[in-house]
């Protein structure tokens, strides 16, 4: 795999990257949910369309517009989107009216927008993009599947680009249900507790992040070189798979300038991430991100976009690192998980 990240668009609980002050302050909160810091969308979305868009759609569309703007591209060649849950709010609206009104007197708007490919369709509509357009809904591998699709597309169309992103929205229902299921922790917590004090459940989050991917290696861009996915309930097996991935990518610890980990404050994964830091990536610079984004199925899109941003700006805010920040970036490894779905990424700064 060889995919170059030409630009990024991030809409997250830690702000959006259209602003100068993005990542200028350390996160500070005491909460059970990290909701998106929504921006003024009118710069990106016409008011008529904006009025009808639910949060998943507007944050997805805005992140894609920021990404295109940063690359100076009006229209991408193709679009590839991952979402674990899709447009939950519209789904719930239609569902709750259908249940309470006994299938009568319903209106179509929320049904139309509840389709999983709504964001991909809206991006195509707003940019007039007639190209390839796919949406993947594969739990904690949704964004990863979208990246694999981007790679397949660019292999067939090497001169083109593909807007590739991941997004999920948190709703009152998903928060309540995922707390009951033990995915999210019940009470409020702060950023330190997510990184150092494991409890049952992780911090709930949401967001949308897009990358413009192409085959041409522009200097100073981050390249996605390797991606491996697996599903397991056994964290010991997961550790073995990470080692297999490093061998497959022919990466020695000394080659790795930075390791980013999806540490999420959930006790179930504490020993996995602890062993990665203590044994596999001993003495490596370690970065974290879920104290900014919160946990959700496509948070890896935020992580990759964040890494691309660090590479592009060369500025390394201290609150991203467990100890010292690296002086320069070269080979980077990102290990993430969302509810038994793991992904291992090999990135490289050109």
């Amino acid at each position: 795999m060889e995919l170059y990240i030409h630009s990024t668009g991030i809409v997250s609980a830690a702000g959006d990257n259209s602003k100068e002050n993005f990542l200028s302050a350390a996160p500070a909160y005491d909460t059970d949910r990290l909701m998106c810091d929504e921006l003024d969308y009118t710069a990106y979305i016409p008011p008529m369309q904006l009025r009808r868009m639910s949060k998943a759609v507007r944050m997805g569309v805005a992140a894609s517009r920021i990404c295109l703007q940063q690359a100076g591209v009006e229209k991408p060649s193709a679009i590839s989107v991952g979402t674990g849950m899709g447009c939950l709010n519209d789904t719930e609206q239609f569902l709750s009216k259908m249940v309470s009104q006994n299938e009568q007197m319903l209106t179509p708007t929320s049904f139309i927008q509840s389709t999983h490919n709504t964001v991909g369709g809206q991006i195509a509509l707003l940019s007039g993009c007639h190209g390839h357009n796919l949406t993947f809904v594969q739990r904690g591998h949704s964004f990863e599947n979208a990246v694999i699709n981007a790679s397949l597309y660019l292999d067939e169309h090497p001169g083109e680009n593909i807007l590739t992103g991941g997004l999920d929205e948190l709703t009152g229902t998903s928060l309540a249900v995922l707390k009951r299921a033990g995915v999210y922790s019940a009470g409020p917590r702060g950023p330190e507790s997510i990184l150092h004090h494991a409890r049952p459940g992780s911090i709930a989050g949401e967001g949308a992040s897009f990358l413009l991917l192409g085959k041409d290696a522009k200097p100073g861009t981050l390249c996605i070189r390797g991606l491996s996915l697996f599903v397991t309930k056994d964290t010991a097996q997961a550790l073995g798979n990470v080692n297999d991935f490093l061998a497959q990518e022919q990466l020695k610890p000394s080659d790795i300038s930075l390791v980013m980990l999806g540490i999420n404050g959930d006790g179930k994964y504490e020993s996995f991430y602890h062993k990665l830091q203590r044994d596999v990536f001993k003495d490596r610079h370690i970065a974290v991100f879920k104290h900014l984004s919160g946990e959700y199925a496509t948070s890896s899109a935020f992580a990759v976009a964040l890494l691309s941003r660090l590479a592009a700006t060369g500025s390394f805010p201290s609150f991203l690192f467990t100890a010292a920040a690296p002086e320069r970036l070269d080979h980077i490894v990102l290990i993430n998980n969302y509810v038994n779905h793991y992904s291992c990424w090999h990135l490289h700064l050109v």
């Binding site: 299938e103 389709t115 369709g121 357009n133 809904v137 594969q138």
Partner: protein, 398 residues
Amino acid sequence: MNPRAYVVNTGLVTAIGNNTAECMDALIAGRSGIGKAKHLQTHWRNELPVGEVDASNAELAAMSGTDAAWPRTALLSAIASKEAWQPYAGKTEGLRTGFFSANSVGGMDLTEDFYAGFVQNNATGNLANVTSHECGAVTELVSDHLGIYDFVTTISTACSSSANSIMMAAQMIGNDMLDIAIAGGADCLSKFTLNGFHTLMILDKEPCHPFDQNRRGLNLGEGAGYLVLMNEKAMQQCGAKAICIVSGYANTNDAFHQTASSPQGTGNKMAMQQALQKAGLQPSDIDYINLHGTGTANNDSSEGLAIAAIFGEHVPMASSTKAYTGHTLGASGGIEAVFGTLAIRDGIVFPNIRWQTQMEEIAWKPVTELQRGCDIKHVLSNSFGFGGNCSSLILSKS
């Protein structure tokens, strides 16, 4: 040259049959599966006919050796994917196998039950009913059941979903990332989709008439359809014989409206043209088009005009099979790719049943009688959907 993706087997469950052979019998006999819902518990049961699979969840679970507590989409998926996969199970040691299963409703049927309790009090509602809500969760129930782990994905692009599964599977075999793929999709009827389409006022209150001047809309259906794709190495190891190959595919976007097609079918036309280009074929090489042909005023007009623009006065034999099965949404591309495979295998073109009146805006008409003894070398299969998604596949005799 890249490895080719050979179609070696199929699996189906639809309103016209519980396996490929039963569906084929019904297609030949002209027997439609559209009627009153027996299993879907809806207010609209007497008013909106559907293409329902004739089995309860318990019966589907017994047929597939799975669990009746699964979402109905997963049960349908298990039946059809097992039919397709069964001959090769246990013979694939050392081969890389992927499961590409599209759907659009996920576990919505169970979520509907959960939600009724949850809206009263968010501490109630059986959690087990919502753990498989996600489309990807439905796919994983089935991939775990089949024991396929090398690559598992769920595409959800509304009505074009499972055509895209087949496209991506062919690409991954072509790039030597996999040796085998089970590719297609499933969707069950749900109150959510039935009511959603009803609010759009595009459901026919009678059995639908695709590509007819007096068409009134679509009937929703349910089912699952899968192809087993293999490279040559896998065919040799499994002792599988090729029926046809996936020779062309394209995915485009109409970029016109969230739910409606552009009047001239811009995206439809681009998808068909690019699929022909990918396959290295001319329009005149196509012997049969399995139309998207939902029966709505908008779809059939846009698709009909796009076909006229590409094929001119020489439109090949074409038919919509949705008058048999209903519109099975995320499953339709997979189900219809199986029908296309059978057309090549048996030299048959299925009739566009219930057709009566020529559409005014186009000069060509669909095939209305069963055609046998045809030499079908290349089939074009169209799937178009919400979000402007347009996909075309080409299957070619190998």
